[in-house]
């Protein structure tokens, strides 16, 4: 029954706040067991999409299916759990009390001691939440999300505000708990997190998906090099027709060639054309991310 439905099915999701379109016709299908990173800059619509996915916000248009049913039903049955940036904690409860209280809201949960252990906060169970660090509070939210042993775990920028060590600890805890069969969707604006922990990366910009593929595929977007040269009156079509060329851009007297074979292009430019000032630069994931997620000038 679990495996016959996609874990998440979003169709044409749209959400506007006043004149701002936060999510713009976004469609996404996530299969059970996938670990998906929702990657994009702040304001890309990640949080709004997650709110609609969890039933916290109502889409203006489009539909949401979670594990074959409604988001509300999945939440009420403990099939989906989430760690959100906005979810607050009661400062005057202890860590252990927070977990035990939340456990009472479910029909059935894993033992409180076990989720505290899994989230790596068993040693601070008696600490008042108000005296916990941001990272500890985030791991408490994670412990709460582990309680129902959900089929789908959603995390919205779970390591925001943590230092490097805190981020590493958090992801280690998540990985320790990751089992075959649990679907994980996390939003992040850290490329390295997406790269290290996701099987699949969905790049979001201005409420739309601009790239979607395995981590390797997304990295391929970044493969190759750019050859730049000064070449007045460059023949763009002729350059584009050369073997191994992905794209050619002419900016005034400059020409930029994106290619998998920079040596051949450089040789061609230097021997067959009047090009000078040839530069070869490699592209990386950061460039691909920026290229795909930042607004192009004039676009």
């Amino acid at each position: 029954m679990t495996s016959t439905h996609p874990a998440v099915e979003l169709n044409g999701l749209t959400k506007t706040f006043g004149t701002v379109t936060a999510v713009d016709g976004l469609s996404l299908r996530v299969q059970p067991g996938e670990v998906v990173a929702f990657l994009g800059p702040n304001g890309a619509g990640k949080t709004t999409t997650i709110d609609m996915l969890l039933g916290l916000a109502r889409p203006d248009a489009g539909t949401v299916r979670v594990l074959g049913g409604t988001a509300d039903d999945a939440v009420a049955r403990g099939r989906v759990a989430a760690v959100l940036q906005t979810g607050g904690l009661l400062k005057d409860l202890t860590v252990g009390e927070t977990v035990r209280m939340t456990a009472h809201f479910y029909r059935h949960t894993r033992p409180a001691a076990e989720v505290l252990e899994r989230a790596g906060i068993a040693d601070i169970a008696d600490r008042i939440v108000g005296r916990c660090s941001g990272g500890q509070q985030q791991r408490l939210r994670f412990a709460l999300a582990l309680l129902p042993d959900p089929d789908l775990m959603v995390l919205d920028e779970p390591t925001t505000g943590m230092d490097v060590e805190g981020r590493r600890d958090f992801w280690q805890a998540l990985r320790r708990d990751a089992r075959d069969g649990r679907t994980v969707i996390f939003a992040t604006h850290y490329l390295d997190e997406a790269d290290a922990y996701a099987d699949r990366i969905v790049l979001v910009r201005q409420g739309r998906i601009v790239a979607d593929g395995t981590t390797a595929e997304i990295k391929n977007l970044a493969a190759g090099r750019t050859v730049r040269a000064t070449l007045p009156g460059a023949d763009q079509a002729a350059l584009a027709a050369l073997p191994g060329v992905d794209a050619v851009e002419v900016r005034g007297d400059s020409v930029l060639v994106r290619t998998g074979d920079s040596d051949a292009i450089a040789r061609h430019l230097l021997t067959r054309t009047a090009a000078r000032d040839v530069e070869i630069t490699s592209r990386n994931l950061e460039d691909a991310f920026l290229a795909l997620t930042t607004e192009r000038i004039g676009a």
């Binding site: 029954m1 959100l84 906005t86 009661l90 209280m101 809201f105 089992r179």
Partner: protein, 271 residues
């Protein structure tokens, strides 16, 4: 599909049995949560001071010196003060427990709860139950202090007055919820406290309404403590309960209850 017998998900390795995915009983309302809530309230020194200790101290200051004085029907004046302050203690206790909603909204806890099976109505039921438990504790403490100080009354007066003070404080549990859904602030009791004191004065909890200037007496009849104060003292004074007193209680319970319900619906509506 979820009602079918659970079969283990195909690829689960270390979880041989599928977790129980049924909905929780009573929308997630659990009496056990009440215990945690109470412990939480009693850990808060400010709440302890204002709801449980201060009314008792008021009794020792204002009630004890009346020792030996009697009302027209021969009952002790000290009992009159004790019952009035029990009403005050209960209303402060229930208001602060209901008003806790404000803190929890401000902290974002109510949003966190929306990621659990707990239904909003079950959440409010927990708050009301906590408020009423705290109200009962407040009444009992005031009565114990009174009895220890020498108040002697027939059993039925203890019970009826106590019950009236306690149940009457339901009005203020609703008031607390109303304020709680009106303003999301962590320190909501800091500005409700003085309001409660003024209402308590109009309700004749600090001095009998009859000693107030005539105009204030007329105003007092329309304030929300008046009815519950009159009702709680009726078993003691034997004066009976006026229609105005009953109408007053009914009106304010409805006003705060409906107000809280409307704000609650606005709060839980999706945007």
């Amino acid at each position: 599909m979820s009602t079918l017998p659970a079969t283990p998900a195909a690829t689960r390795t270390d979880s041989p049995t599928q977790p129980d995915r049924r909905l929780p009983a009573m929308g997630g309302f659990a009496p056990a949560v009440l215990g945690i809530e109470l412990r939480r309230v009693l850990r808060n020194r400010r709440t302890l001071a204002f709801t449980l200790i201060m009314p008792a101290v008021f009794f020792l200051i204002f009630g004890l010196p009346q020792r030996g004085q009697t009302l027209d029907n021969g009952r002790p004046v000290m009992a009159y003060v004790m019952i009035s302050l029990a009403v005050y203690a209960a209303m402060v206790a229930t208001t602060s427990a209901g008003g806790a909603v404000a803190t929890e909204r401000a902290l974002g806890w109510s949003r966190q709860l929306r990621l659990t099976p707990l239904r909003p109505t079950a959440y409010v039921a927990t708050k009301v139950a906590t408020a009423m438990t705290l109200g009962l504790i407040a009444v009992v403490i005031e009565f114990v202090v009174g009895a220890a100080a020498g108040v002697r009354l027939p059993l039925d007066v203890w019970l009826l007055s106590g019950l009236a003070a306690w149940l009457g404080s339901l009005v203020f549990a609703a008031f607390g919820l109303f304020i709680g859904y009106l303003v999301p602030a962590e320190n909501v009791m800091q500005f409700i406290g003085p309001i409660l004191a003024v209402l308590a004065m109009f309700g004749g909890l600090f001095v009998p309404v009859e000693v107030l200037p005539h105009v204030l007496q007329q105003v007092a009849k329309f304030t929300p403590v008046y009815g519950m104060g009159e009702l709680a003292r009726a078993p003691l004074t034997g004066d009976g309960v006026s229609m105005a007193g009953v109408a007053n209680m009914v009106f304010w319970t409805l006003a705060f209850g409906v107000g809280a319900a409307r704000l609650f619906r606005r709060d839980t509506a999706r945007v």
